[in-house]
């Protein structure tokens, strides 16, 4: 029961506290609008390069929109604690670490889902992308799976925050890697084969492909394995992130280097 409370209420309160500056007005300016302008940039870049049509860029980048709040939101779970000088208190608390960090991952996932749906809906109107009605529910599922996998990567990013102070740099690095190699802006067949193979193991690749196929008229049965693969990638990153958090915490305690990072 205590862990459940930590997971839900604790996660919600902690996540809100990490963004003390955030209000609906700033949320729109810093999360919702940039996700749209980023998508528009790639749609026009796609038009300039004649590599793929608008639908390709809208579907992929709308799903990728979940990555920004996930990566930076999760990184803040460590960086924010350090900034407010409460990281040491968190580390000495008897609270279950998995419950604490998964609890913080839940609002990040919800945030990613909301951002992704918003981006998809507005971009579909702006760039006149028709989404078949029967694709809406599977598309929502693809968005949920992609947001989850981005948060998985975000958890790993958060764990690195115990070793390196510059979580903003790490978050940007991961985001840029997704922009380039998740098949969202550069079709995978244009990448070298080894890079294309590596792309299968990063978040967004399978979810974006599922979204593109759904928009093109594919049935749920056709994309269910892509959505499952996306969720699996997310689960692996989340597991690695939780383990890394624990390991880095133990190492920091042993070497008394928690605040040295």
């Amino acid at each position: 029961m205590r862990n459940l409370r930590l997971l839900t209420i604790g996660g919600y309160i902690s996540y809100r506290a990490m963004f003390g500056w955030l209000n609906p007005y700033l949320y729109s300016l810093t999360v919702l609008l940039p996700s749209l302008t980023q998508l528009a940039f790639f749609v026009y870049l796609g038009r300039a390069s004649h590599v793929a049509n608008d639908s390709y860029y809208v579907a992929g980048n709308a799903l990728l929109a979940a990555a920004t709040p996930s990566l930076f939101g999760m990184a803040q779970t460590i960086a924010g604690e350090r900034y407010s000088q409460t990281l040491a208190l968190l580390v000495v608390s008897p609270a279950n670490r998995t419950a604490v960090f998964l609890g913080r991952a839940l609002p990040a996932t919800a945030n990613g889902i909301l951002t992704s749906i918003w981006t998809f809906a507005i971009a579909a109107v702006l760039f006149q992308i028709a989404v078949p009605t029967r694709a809406l529910l599977p598309l929502a599922l693809a968005i949920v799976a992609t947001s989850f996998s981005c948060v998985g990567l975000g958890l790993f990013n958060a764990s690195l925050g115990l070793r390196w102070r510059e979580t903003g740099v790490l978050g940007n690095l991961f985001l840029y890697l997704l922009l380039m190699f998740a098949g969202v802006n550069v079709p995978l067949d244009r990448l070298p084969s080894w890079l294309s193979t590596l792309s299968q193991g990063i978040p967004v690749t399978h979810g974006a492909k599922a979204a593109r196929e759904l928009v093109a008229g594919a049935s749920f049965g056709h994309v269910v394995w892509l959505i499952a693969a996306e969720a699996l990638v997310g689960a692996i990153y989340a597991a690695v992130g939780i383990v890394a958090l624990r390991l880095f915490e133990l190492e920091a305690r042993r070497g008394a280097t928690l605040e040295v990072a």
Binding site: L26, T30, P34, T37, F41, A48, E166, V186
Partner: protein, 262 residues
């Protein structure tokens, strides 16, 4: 009068030097300016694979200008907030030198570390993609680089001045990153954009800076005219920024809210 001008010049130069050195040692700021050319030149390589050569050279320049702009939005808009966080904002405002002479070198230094961005972009495409770096007019290119940096830095100064009352100024500043990358003819030709959007790009310095660098490199258009536009826009940004700064500072002093922010 001459002594005052000399002092002002000294403050501007010293501020520029100190902040340039400080920023050159910040992992985050260096990352911002180094990552942009690597990422966007790589993207251009994969997207424009069928049309190499001049297009990749222009992409390298564009990704460098993107880095300058990225640095300006990431750090420039929040430059005042940083002084507030360090606890020196009141001291700087109360100092005998006009406050704009303190803020301007910070803003220009933030853009000036974008010089790394240009260098990394050009070296990267030369080493990894074998693109020959041929500059048609070195004189125009050599003037275009500081003109672009100065104009974008002045725009950063305007942002910092306008956002002085926002506690989350740096977050709001990020809002302008992608739109300017899209509008200013960097990787995306302005002709691809809808007609009504194209005139919007004219008010942003990166448009003219990029045009100057591209034309000086390829020997097309009128690079000196583009450099002139950079200088004209920089003057407009500086005047608007100084006025905005004065307005906000007067209000903050009257209400004793300088250390507070909405």
């Amino acid at each position: 009068m001459r002594t005052r001008a000399r002092r002002l010049g000294g403050v501007l130069l010293l501020g520029l030097r100190v902040h340039f050195k400080m920023l050159s040692r910040s992992p985050f700021d260096l990352w911002v300016v180094v990552a942009s050319p690597l990422i966007f030149a790589t993207l251009a390589h994969f997207l424009f694979a069928d049309d190499r050569g001049q297009k990749m050279l222009v992409a390298a320049l564009a990704s460098g200008v993107m880095g300058i702009w990225s640095s300006t939005t990431a750090s420039g808009a929040g430059a005042l907030q940083m002084q507030r966080r360090l606890g020196v904002l009141e001291l700087l405002v109360a100092s005998p030198m006009p406050f704009w002479s303190v803020l301007l070198p910070i803003s220009v230094a933030i853009s000036a570390i974008g010089i790394y961005s240009l260098a990394v972009g050009l070296v990267y495409v030369r080493l990894f993609f074998g693109i020959a770096i041929t500059i048609h007019s070195w004189a125009a290119f050599a003037v275009a680089v500081p003109a672009t940096i100065g104009a974008i830095g002045s725009l950063g100064f305007l942002f910092a001045s306008a956002l002085v009352r926002f506690r989350s100024a740096s977050m709001v500043g990020n809002l302008f990153e992608w739109p300017v990358w899209m509008l200013c003819g960097l990787l995306i030709p302005v002709s691809v954009l809808p007609g009504w959007l194209q005139p919007v790009s004219w008010v942003f310095a990166p448009t003219w800076g990029m045009a100057a660098l591209r034309n000086a490199t390829l020997g097309t258009g009128h690079p000196w005219a583009d450099i002139g536009m950079c200088a004209a826009l920089a003057a407009v940004y500086l005047v608007a920024g100084a006025l905005s700064l004065r307005l906000f500072l007067d209000a903050a002093r009257a209400r004793a809210t300088l250390s507070l922010a909405s």
